[in-house]
């Protein structure tokens, strides 16, 4: 399902003393089966953008088009939002706060049941989603409240995966996790992307993860998209000035350059490329 957003504008608390212009004319296109990331400072508008993708927010102006679903500022015309939510699954920041059922499997089955799927079928989908996120049968009947933070988050993500959405939207899915939990979750999304051909839309502050997993990056600043492209191109264009945090490998290259070791950054996309180039230099030096 391709996504087309044109001139999207959003104002919180319109026409009140608390009015805040969060989005000021955002345009972008996301292909089917793509893996994209939105990056930018806190308060730049990333969460506001993604809440439009499944109709949680209604545009103040402009349009959001997901496949044949069209959202405009005319609330009455935005039909089928319920259906849209089955196709676009949004996992919010700290999703563990949405758990409420007595057992893990019931909590995960809650979503499918809301879309009029029978209880048995919903449980089957729930079990599959739980196995997908790496929680085995021993977890199914436990209370979600007695799990660890990382496990709770995986249950919450399974709750969205059980809806079998075509597009998976993740708002800072790794916030507050330790290194290991981060890698587990991110490789889970990559697996879903590669095996089930779902579109993944990631919002993240962690530039290393963005560089490693995303195919395209949108840079959001002050309610607008200011740059767009492949992660490497984006990060290299921001290498000179400090507006944007950059992945450690590029920061490392920058430090090396200051010490007089000028690597060919255009050929570096991941840590292996970096190691290869350094290796090359050492061999040249050793004769």
């Amino acid at each position: 399902m391709p996504i087309d957003v044109t001139n999207l504008t959003y104002i919180y608390f319109k026409k009140t003393p608390f009015q805040a212009d969060a989005l000021k004319g955002v345009n972008f296109h996301i292909d089917d089966n793509d893996f994209v990331a939105f990056i930018g400072a806190t308060g730049s508008g990333k969460s506001t953008i993604i809440q439009h993708l499944n109709g949680l927010l209604t545009p103040s102006d402009g349009t959001v088009k997901v496949d044949e679903f069209l959202l405009t500022n005319n609330k009455k015309k935005n039909k089928n939002i319920g259906k849209l939510r089955k196709h676009v699954g949004v996992v919010f920041q700290f999703p563990e706060y949405q758990l409420f059922e007595e057992t893990v499997e019931e909590d995960v089955a809650f979503g499918p049941k809301n879309f009029n799927i029978s209880k048995e079928e919903a449980l089957i989908k729930a079990h599959k989603a739980l196995l997908d996120v790496g929680l085995n049968e021993s977890y199914f009947l436990r209370s979600p409240f007695e799990l660890s933070g990382g496990e709770k988050r995986r249950v919450a993500i399974a709750g969205i995966l059980a809806l079998e959405p075509d597009i998976l939207v993740l708002d800072e899915p790794t916030a507050g996790l330790d290194n290991e939990g981060r890698d587990v979750i991110m490789s889970l999304f990559e697996k879903i992307h590669l095996e089930q051909h779902k579109t993944i839309i990631l919002v993240s502050h962690d530039m290393d993860l963005v560089n490693k997993y995303a195919k395209k990056v949108f840079v959001v600043d002050d309610g607008k998209i200011v740059a767009y492209g492949k992660p490497k191109d984006i990060f290299l264009s921001y290498l000179g000035h400090g507006d944007l945090e950059i992945p450690q490998i590029y920061a490392f290259c920058r430090l090396l350059k200051e010490k007089g070791i000028d690597l060919d950054v255009n050929k570096i996309e991941n840590i292996d490329d970096l190691i290869d180039q350094i290796d090359e230099r050492i061999q040249i030096k050793n004769g």
Binding site: F13, T16, P17, F18, Q51, N54, L56, G82, R85, K86, G89, V90, V91, F92, P95, Y97, Q98, L99, F100, F110, G111, P112, N114, F115, F145, G159, I160, L163
Partner: protein, 291 residues
């Protein structure tokens, strides 16, 4: 969202905003008593209420209250108004001065007084609402609790924990917006899982509300635990004496406003209690004509 902003503190810099919170609470109570003072006939009471209404609307304008959310709040009470009218119209009204309005089958009579009475009670409700609205939208919640604590201070003699209670109120007030934000967030998360909070049968509605309430409670308990840990870590002790960052100050304008409002309230109470309001109003009127 509009219902949330009703009565919320709005940061303007008006005369009423600058009054001392203690003074505002005192005047609020005085004015509430005044509003509830009845006069000898319904018509006088109604006229006085209309007068209060005009004055309060002016005060609301002065203090930048949102008229739109105020009238929306009133409109949402239409059911109450209907109920009052029906109730007062059909209650038998044996008062001698009652003027009949309509008689059914020569046996049951509706009196004008019933309608006056319903209108008067509804008007009083609106007056109370606008008074509290003026207080809460011009006074920072924290200042309000400090003022309450100040009024509760004498109760310390009988070991009443006035500081603890004020602290509890101010923490509760502090967390209302946070918990509302949290509720919005959880609602969005559950809506993403297909919950529809606005439609559905009773069973679905109950399930939807459970999916909101339980996570809300879990996070509120988490938060209160964290807060109490953090307060203890910074040496908070409810029994020790504490200094204040912001102090309440009684200014000249507080004195002036109290000196204007309190005598008026006293005068109206006198009129009402002595039940000779009409005489006095006539006398005043005559004096004016005489000039």
């Amino acid at each position: 969202m509009d219902s949330i902003s009703f009565g919320r503190y709005v940061n303007y810099d008006s005369f009423i905003h600058r009054l001392d919170a203690r003074n505002k609470i005192l005047l609020l109570i005085a004015l509430m008593i005044m509003i509830f003072m009845p006069f000898s006939t319904w018509s006088t009471s109604l006229i006085f209420s209309l007068l209060y209404f005009i004055i309060l609307m002016i005060l609301m304008g002065v203090s930048h209250c949102s008229f739109k959310s105020f009238f929306k709040g009133i409109l949402s009470m239409w059911f109450l108004l209907l109920f009052l009218i029906i109730m007062f119209i059909f209650i038998p009204n044996p008062s001698l001065s009652s003027v009949p309005l309509y008689t059914f089958n020569e046996s049951y009579t509706i009196y004008w007084d019933g309608i006056y009475q319903a209108a008067y009670i509804f008007l009083r409700l609106i007056l109370m609402m606008s008074l509290t609205l003026i207080l809460t939208s011009t006074t920072k919640p924290l200042d309000l609790t400090y003022a309450l604590e100040w009024y509760m201070y004498p109760l310390n003699i009988i070991n009443f924990p006035s500081h603890t209670i004020a602290m509890m109120i101010s923490i509760a007030l502090r967390f209302i917006p946070t918990i509302l934000d949290e509720a919005k967030r959880i609602m969005k998360a559950q809506e993403s899982r297909g919950v529809d909070f606005s439609r559905g049968g009773l069973f679905k509605k109950v399930k939807a509300i459970i999916s909101l309430i339980i996570p809300l409670f879990v996070s509120a308990f988490d938060r209160s635990q964290q807060l109490s840990d953090a307060m203890e870590a910074r040496g908070y002790d409810p029994n020790s004496k504490r200094s204040r960052y912001r102090k309440l100050k009684f200014h000249l304008k507080d004195l002036i406003s109290a000196l204007i409002i309190l005598p008026i309230v006293a005068f109206i109470m006198y009129l009402s209690i002595a039940q000779n309001d009409l005489d006095i109003i006539y006398t005043l009127f005559k004096v004016e004509v005489g000039f």
